[in-house]
């Protein structure tokens, strides 16, 4: 707790630098990452991160200094080049995009390693520290880095806000963007440039491999919580910032811990929890929905059986035994009993010593299902000219889905019919 307070008082300048740096970096790359993710190009960040290395080395060889601006410029050039190459290879040959990405990133990285080792073996004393581009050095951020980070973060955010509408259209409907005269090519170039920017700066903090996570993981997590791009961007930035702070905190409490990997670990956990538990799109929510649907279908099928038995005997409210119910339709016994007890609890049927009987509400609901089934059969035969013995299966499915509005429309469309294609009465 003491450490916690110490950390969050931000009294120590070093803590302040590391935290602010991590937050700036994580949130700005998360925002850019949203666009690359939505353009289904999540892995290009990885490619850029690897391709930066030869640029850094070349810049060093050419200039002979470790001036960060010159190195960043070199990094920027090769990072950008790699994306252009990936596009070129994919569009001009039968090589698929993922192959092109893998090829370009590993070859660029190979060239980088070759140059780096060559520089290291050349005995040039100034070279030490070049390899911080490989693994990052989030824990040793100083004031100067912070200024660069801050500038880039602000630049990225401003560009995103300025071109928000254009970029949005680029992500969701390229053809439309083209048709209303947007300069799609230049916009793509802009997005590429933004990505490269984010990567080139971020790589110094978290390193080559993990940079990809800074771009895509917050974006992918945010995608699960919302359907709106604006919210998604904000959410991704918050998730990024949160993991930035947590990563800095962990490496503060345990100095041996690397900041970058912890940021990535935390952001991944957030993402995985989002995949599982996000409302609507999450895995658990979908499972529950599916179960709910299944139960609803079972219940409606049972009520339908009751109603059909009632039609047969022209008596809807007398007792039916289980065997009686299951003669027309083969539902596994335990499942059927389960469904029956659920229906009883909801008041659709009543338990009698030798079986179950429909209540008034149960009769209404069962009748509705039967009516929808027959209406749909009739609709299929009349409007799609299907043979009457082909329509049953389809109606079995749709009877659980049709809404009251749709039901009304069907009735109007079919002119309030009385008989279905099998000449049974539509109730």
């Amino acid at each position: 707790m003491k450490e916690f307070l110490e950390f969050f008082s931000f009294a120590d300048a070093n803590i302040r630098y590391v935290t602010i740096g991590s937050v700036l970096l994580a949130s700005s790359s998360a925002v850019v990452g949203c666009f690359t993710l939505l353009r289904k190009r999540a892995l290009v960040g990885d490619a850029v991160a690897h391709s930066v290395l030869p640029g850094v080395c070349l810049a060093f060889i050419v200039s002979g200094t470790k001036n960060p601006l010159i190195l960043l410029f070199g990094a920027f050039v090769t990072g950008w080049l790699s994306l252009i190459l990936i596009d070129y290879i994919t569009s001009r040959s039968r090589i698929k995009e993922d192959t092109a990405i893998g090829l370009v990133l590993s070859v660029f990285f190979g060239i980088g390693i070759l140059l780096l080792t060559s520089i290291q073996h050349s005995g040039n004393a100034a070279q030490s520290g070049l390899d911080k581009f490989l693994f990052g050095k989030a824990a040793s951020l100083v004031g100067e880095d912070l200024i660069v980070f801050g500038a880039v973060a602000v630049l990225l955010l401003i560009t995103t806000i300025l071109f928000y509408k254009e970029l949005k259209l680029l992500c969701f409907d390229v053809t439309f963007a083209k048709s209303i005269g947007f300069p799609v090519r230049s916009l793509e170039l802009l997005l590429t440039t933004l990505t490269v920017f984010a990567v080139v700066v971020g790589i110094q903090a978290v390193g080559v491999v993990l940079m990809a996570a800074m771009l895509i993981t917050p974006a992918a997590a945010a995608r699960f919580w919302t359907e709106r791009l604006g919210v998604m961007l904000a959410l991704a930035a918050v998730i990024g910032a949160f993991s930035g702070i947590s990563g800095a905190f962990v490496s503060y409490t345990a100095p041996a811990m690397p900041t970058g990997p912890w940021i990535v670990l935390i952001v991944s956990m957030v993402a995985i929890l989002s995949f599982a538990f996000a409302p609507k799109r999450g895995w658990v929510a979908r499972m529950l929905r599916r179960r709910h649907n299944k139960i609803q279908i079972l219940e409606e099928n049972l009520l339908k059986l009751f109603y059909q038995l009632g039609e047969q005997h022209e008596d809807y409210f007398s007792n039916r035994t289980l065997d009686n119910i299951l003669t027309r339709r083969n539902i596994p016994k335990t499942q059927a009993l389960n469904g029956l007890s659920k229906l009883k609890r909801q008041g659709y049927i009543q338990r009698h010593p030798d079986g179950w009987a429909l209540t008034r509400e149960g009769e209404i609901r069962g009748k509705r299902v039967v009516r929808l089934h027959r209406l749909w059969e009739l609709y299929l035969t009349q409007y799609l000219q299907l043979a009457s013995d082909h329509v049953h299966e389809d109606a079995e499915t749709i009877e659980h889905i049709i809404t009251p509005e749709l039901e009304q429309k069907l009735m109007e469309e079919l002119n309030y019919p009385a008989l279905d294609p099998h000449h049974t009465k539509i109730p």
Binding site: T99, G102, L103, L105, G110, I113, L114, V208, A256, V264
Partner: protein, 260 residues
């Protein structure tokens, strides 16, 4: 890209295997990494299919996550693990001859890595020879393969195990990233040169061998990393094929369109 993901994601497997056995013995490491490789494939599939994460994002998230865990494990047990991050990322093939396999009575069998790599190579060749039909069908027509009773899932996972094996075996020598160049480069080059799958297999092996030899001399000349040099040559080969391939090259394509 799955190969790339696996090559990064096996890192925690290697570290854990190392922590359990306390030695840099190859066998436990290969087992640990193999398991992680299969787990990676499974996770990617799981996120994609059950959580409906976009395919490319699910790859990116899985491997960075596992890689981060690996790095953290290395840092936690830094005192005990004789692995460093540099070695993990780009290896050093030049040290291979130094790591000799000595029996207890001092008999030398030559470099250990050669034995491991040799064994894995034989294993892979055997795998491809015996599983050729199944692999071929799974790659080209999974629907048909499933119809004639081949379990595409099983073969997919077997293939991914093979990928992890290769990755781990090459790990010490070339590192996690450059192994991707070896995995992707030669086949992509061969793919531009031929339309026949068998020819492509043979061709990619030949291309790989040429790349290693030329790469070695390039590294010698520049006094740099051998693995890096081989990857560079792989890239050059691809560029050549991309431009000059008789069937798919850019130059000939252009000429053809002009002639027409």
């Amino acid at each position: 890209m799955v190969g790339d993901a696996i090559s990064h994601a096996v890192l925690p497997g290697i570290v854990i295997a190392f922590l359990f056995t306390g030695s840099r013995d190859s066998i436990p490491m290969i087992i640990g990494a193999g398991l992680l490789g299969v787990l990676t494939t499974f996770l990617i599939e799981f996120f994609h299919r059950y959580a409906r994460v976009q395919a490319d994002a699910s790859i990116g998230i899985t491997f960075t996550w596992l890689f981060a865990i690996g790095i953290i494990l290395i840092s936690v047990f830094a005192g005990q693990v004789d692995l460093d991050q540099d070695c993990v990322l780009y290896g050093e093939i030049a040290y291979v001859p130094l790591d000799l396999w000595l029996t207890e009575n001092g008999l030398s069998f030559g470099p250990q890595t050669i034995w491991t790599l040799g064994f894995v190579t034989i294993l892979i060749i055997a795998f491809i020879t015996f599983g050729y039909k199944e692999l071929f069908l799974t790659a080209f027509d999974p629907g048909y393969a499933a119809v004639i009773g081949i379990s595409t899932t099983l073969w997919y996972y077997l293939l991914m195990t093979a990928v992890s094996l290769t990755t781990v075996a090459s790990f010490e020598s070339v590192g996690a990233i450059l192994v991707v160049a070896f995995l992707v480069g030669p086949p992509a080059t061969a793919y531009l040169l031929t339309d026949n799958f068998k020819t492509m297999l043979v061709l990619s092996v030949i291309i790989g061998i040429i790349a290693s030899i030329v790469g070695y001399y390039l590294a010698y000349w520049l006094d740099g990393s051998i693995a890096g040099a081989i990857a560079t040559v792989t890239g050059l080969q691809f560029a050549l094929a991309f431009l000059f391939s008789p069937t798919h090259g850019q130059l000939f394509k252009r000429k053809r369109t002009i002639a027409v």
